[in-house]
Symmetry: C2
């Protein structure tokens, strides 16, 4: 954890600005509609060439973004699994996190939910095969073994549960649901959880 003392941006700070700007633009207008010129401008960098001090291609910017987002998500999920035991509590933690991200960092959630990652990151593993999402599937499997969740195909349970969650968040992100995500959180959680829970354990 070094301290930066000079007023000019450190190399890593500038790199971060590029990533932040790129994330914002990609989420707003799509990867292919965003040029390096756009990114340089949004990152307060004077020339496109300067970007190449930090990344060797536009593609590698998107790659780094993807890695960062998934790493961070991974850490958060580990944390949730460490702090709580029951599957219901862990899923609840994940849902709370996703709703919070939707309100606080919509660009990250757009990257995860609505962008066609395979179109510009074809070599990356699809989301569902990343370790963060495999861990979520494991939570569901554990819930089935523990009798908390109905005994159905875990992949289907996962599909239904996050169908509700993700579609709600997507509608918020696209403005088709107009209030903040957090507004819909309690009832959406209930709808999704009761759908897969063994007995209607709530209310």
């Amino acid at each position: 954890m070094e301290q930066e003392l000079n007023t000019t941006q450190s190399k890593s700070e500038q790199q971060n600005e590029i990533l932040v700007a790129a994330l914002k633009l990609f989420a707003e207008q799509g990867y292919f509609n965003t040029s390096l010129t756009d990114i340089a401008e949004a990152a307060d960098i004077k020339t496109v060439s300067a970007i190449y001090q930090h990344f060797n291609s536009k593609h590698s910017i998107a790659n780094k973004l993807y890695d960062n987002i998934l790493d961070s998500l991974n850490v958060s999920i580990d944390d949730i699994r460490r702090r709580t035991q029951k599957s219901s509590e862990q899923l609840r933690g994940v849902v709370d996190l996703l709703f919070k991200l939707t309100d606080d960092a919509p660009a990250i959630m757009k990257f995860l939910l609505v962008m066609p990652l395979n179109e510009f990151l074809p070599e990356q593993k699809p989301l569902q095969q990343t370790s963060a999402f495999i861990k979520i599937l494991k939570i569901i499997q554990a819930g089935i073994r523990a009798g908390e969740i109905r005994n159905i195909d875990p992949m289907l349970a996962n599909t239904y549960f996050f169908g509700i969650i993700n579609n709600t968040l997507t509608m918020v992100l696209t403005g088709e649901l107009s209030k903040p995500a957090d507004t819909y959180r309690p009832q959406t959680w209930l709808a999704a959880w009761n759908l897969i829970a063994k007995k209607s354990s709530v209310f």
Copy 2:
């Protein structure tokens, strides 16, 4: 309904081939990864220039596709609403249609469910504002008035219901669920319907 007698393709047949080829390529690799050269090749047209006999831009090909798909969907939904009365029956008809399309015409469903339409058709109305989808919302509103569907925000009911349906279909389209969509149809319908139905009317 004219008959085409010559062996060479009529103008409209060729136009249709272009649309079919474009739909396939857009769905497979995305709009921006598909060039007019690709489309000409896939449509068995010798030169890119020939495409301009039918369309005045790449963009207009995508536009025509979007219109055709939504028109056809619209007709099907009118048909469903004409043949059945109860909201449950009408929704069931829509669900059956979507599952059938997923197995029989996956490119169409990819166009509707997974492609980022706003990135390459920014001037088009978002899906949820098209008349086909407004009609679906009306079915849900009618169901609430008739006491078939729980008395919640129709937009939320719609979000939950099609969250389950669409996510299941998306997982099939991307291969994350490996069997044909029709395999999952009965239980997915039940899950989605019971979620919004007033009383657990099934089983």
